[in-house]
Symmetry: C2
Subunit: 199 residues, 2 copies
DNA sequence: GTCTATACGCCGATAGAC
DNA sequence: GTCTATCGGCGTATAGAC
């Protein structure tokens, strides 16, 4: 951890404006189609040069973004695990979160589900090796040992369960499905859960 | 259709070498991380300039690639539909094809499942509006009217079914799942089919 | 901390000899 | 049809005034 402050109120105003603008633009046009000039403009500063007082280079913006998103996701998952005992309830909480984020902060979900992160951050850990997602695998593993989830390779169970969830969200984010995420939530949860539940 | 010849034996040798090299590099590093110099080198020609005798510009390479892949996919799907009557069998045939391609031509599946195509081909039709994928939706629609598949929005059924299939394949392609696609095929088919079947 | 100005490199693309 | 050579532009990044 480099920063003392957390995600909500970081060092300076513009520091955050830059991150916010970058998130929006990356989600919208992709990393390579977004220039520092674009980001500067969207962040309310007139020149790209000013960005270098906040980030060493362009990649660092994406790196910080990635870290922040995964960090707050990790925190949310901790909270969900604390508030719910059964793996099924914990997974349900995560699904709730994902659907809520899709409606309320679609750029974050775009970043997680649609962007090919290691195309512009070759050094970054793949999502699945990230603290947040390791915890998800752990929840699934618990679900298996407690008899809620079928006894299959936890990674496969993850692939099936989140294959359904994430693909549905992806289609919402790209506009292929035209209602709000909320409209599909309960039905999609049921199908996903059914794909892994022990019957 | 610009070309008279089909995908298998196009105009010239190098024309195909270029496409093949580009496919490989795009799948491996992404479109924006691949320069025409890279492609030239991988295609066995010494200079990037020579490429322009085969393609108007870089985008056209990707466009041709995309068209070729979708074309041959479309043909395969026609064949599958011809050889199989029931929607369930047709879907099974498509799943077979996808798993086979993942093992035997992973770059093609990377192109389809992992690359964010409209990031470098903004004009291109989204996958789902493509002839091949419209036929897949049609198969699902038939499955619903014939009573094999549950009566839900065909697009949602597609999201669920291929969410499982594609996410599994994606994890194989990225190395998160370490066996060959074939090893997961029958199990994954069952789970995916179960997610949409009318019970 | 933001501005102006500018350096630098890389890549896409073109011209023209062979 | 492939080569050499080169142009032009854009985008990252830096230097230095304010």
């Amino acid at each position: 951890m480099d920063q003392e402050k957390d995600i909500a109120h970081s060092k300076t105003e513009t520091h955050d404006e830059i991150l916010l603008a970058a998130l929006k633009l990356f989600a919208e046009k992709g990393y390579f189609n977004t220039s520092l000039t674009d980001i500067a403009e969207a962040a309310g500063i007139k020149t790209a040069g000013a960005i270098y007082h906040h980030f060493k280079h362009k990649q660092m913006i994406a790196t910080a973004l990635y870290a922040n998103i995964l960090d707050s996701l990790n925190i949310s998952i901790d909270e969900i695990r604390r508030k719910n005992q059964k793996p099924s309830e914990q997974l349900h909480g995560i699904v709730d979160l994902f659907f809520k984020l899709t409606d309320e902060a679609p750029e974050i979900m775009q970043f997680l589900l649609i962007l090919k992160i290691n195309e512009f951050l070759p050094e970054a850990k793949p999502l699945l090796e990230t603290a947040a997602f390791i915890k998800i695998i752990k929840i699934i593993r618990n679900g298996i040992s407690e008899g809620e989830i079928r006894n299959i390779d936890p990674l496969l169970a993850q692939a099936y369960f989140f294959g359904i969830i994430n693909n549905t969200l992806r289609m919402i984010l790209t506009g292929a499905l035209d209602k709000k995420a909320e409209a599909y939530q309960s039905q999609t949860w049921l199908v996903a859960w059914n794909a892994v539940v022990k019957k």
